[in-house]
Amino acid sequence: MSRPDWIVLVLTLLAMIAYGLYKGRTTRNLDGYFLANRSVPWYMVLLGIMGTQASAVTFLSAPGQAYTDGMRFVQYYFGLPLAMVVLCITFVPVFHRLKVYTAYEFLEQRFDLKTRTLTSFLFLLQRGLSTGISISAPSIILSSILGWDIVWTNIFMGGLLIIYTVTGGAKAVAYTQQLQLIIIFTGMFIAGYMVIHQLPAGVGLTEALHIGGKAGKLNIITTGINEKGFDWNDRYNLFSGIIGGFFLALSYFGTDQSQVGRYLTARSMGESRLGLLMNGLVKVPMQFLILLLGVLVFTFYQFNREPVFFNKSQVDLLEKSKYKDSLVQLEKAYEATEDLRIHTAAPTEAQVQEILKTKAGYRTTIKRWLNDKDVGGEDNDTNYIFLRFVMDYLPKGLIGLLIAVIFLAAWGSIAATLNSLSSCTIVDFHKRFSRPLTEEKEFRLSRIYTFFWGVFCVAVAQLAYNLGNSLIEAVNVLGSLFYGVILGIFLVAFYRKKVGGTAVFISAVITEAGVIVLNILSRKGIVSLSFLWFNVVGAIGVILISEVLQLLIKNNNKAA
């Protein structure tokens, strides 16, 4: 990176820490630390919800995903607006009426202590691990592209935000998320403008869409139905998006404390509702625009030389391996193919297909070499596509801004999560199982727990360093293993009034074991089921099993 890029990056990050410290300086008690004294207006609730959901991976992976797989990933978010409506009708009024700190407090009032403890524990487990992956994902990409040391990148990605999150709590998180999203959207809009600006004369947005469409990148709506019927293993289609996405979003926004904690900071129930509903209105278009950026980058590379492999560090790895000479020959042949493609005026369909086939062959060879045990490389470069374009084609200064965007996106999401992990640890465990604490001690312990979780997540990020493939999906799959069951517990709590704590607790344990087995069978190819459906299986499993168990318990009691 050039000096102007470093200046922009460092100033942006320092300004964010200073702003967080300034805004959170008045926080002195538990209500202020976890709920910002319930004083936040709806638009900050909205930005908090969006900032918590959109991690760095969202902005890195999504354009790459559109580049390789097309825009069908947007369907993953179709269930979200429906979930927002259900949340506003059912979850929000209950949480506000009971004035809870965590969503799981409600479960003790409705069921019993063991159900609350189990659900809060599941949240801490999956959220702590997935936050580690959220830190590791962008760190691996940045360290790979910029040559930074992975340990330091992890510390900067997941560690610096601890300063203002520990000090200022929910208030600092809310205000920094507001500023972070403004910078993020500005950076992404400028990047989008720069892609269109660098297209050849006569090629505008409409032409770019036609080019992307012809290559199958505008597959925004897909049904997942083929000649054999509905493909349950197809990850992103209209049905899995609406049904699976609905269950996932309902669980994430209704039962994950990192999100519940955002709208509990609202100054009234109406402000919580408005923030959630606005999220339902803007989330799908926002994700569409981020994916569109990937299609625009794809169009750009139709007029410019596309790298044979977007992750340059892996090509460097091959240069030091036994494939060194073969790589030189392959790169020469690839460049000749690219020149032919770019300079052939009005190619026939047969010529285009031939060139694409040849290019695919070169990429397959590179991937085969990387998969060689002696090389030990990473054969998936989807997450590197957008950043490679940024590094190669954007002007000085703007590169620094877009690297800052990645850091800020990570910080917004991680800061909210650390605050929620800390709130569950102190409210659901420490306070619940220890002697009463003074207000000052509660506050001090909350800060210590926030710091502990920050260190824990950075350590997990370091452990996850060896995790490969598409990282965005790794995070989503991990969530889907637990979310369905947690949602099932809450749905029983809200809608099945006759089911008691013991029945729901046992059914949750059984269903969680079942979902984990299902995931193992799916990975081994024995069962064909995409991860989004785990949310549906988990939620419905808990509801049905708890109903049956409740009947058995009732009959047993009668017999006794």
């Binding site: 607006p81 429906l82 009708i89 012809k214 505008l218 709506i221 509702r273």
Partner: protein
Amino acid sequence: MDREEQEEASPLFKSWNTWYVLVIGCLLVLILFFYFLTKHFS
């Protein structure tokens, strides 16, 4: 009107139900728009 009812008041519309219909309606319009884009450009 007590505090709870005041908090319940929906901004812009008479009731929250109108907001819910708006959110679901916008989703349907978006899906139709995306379907049109898919058909038109693919």
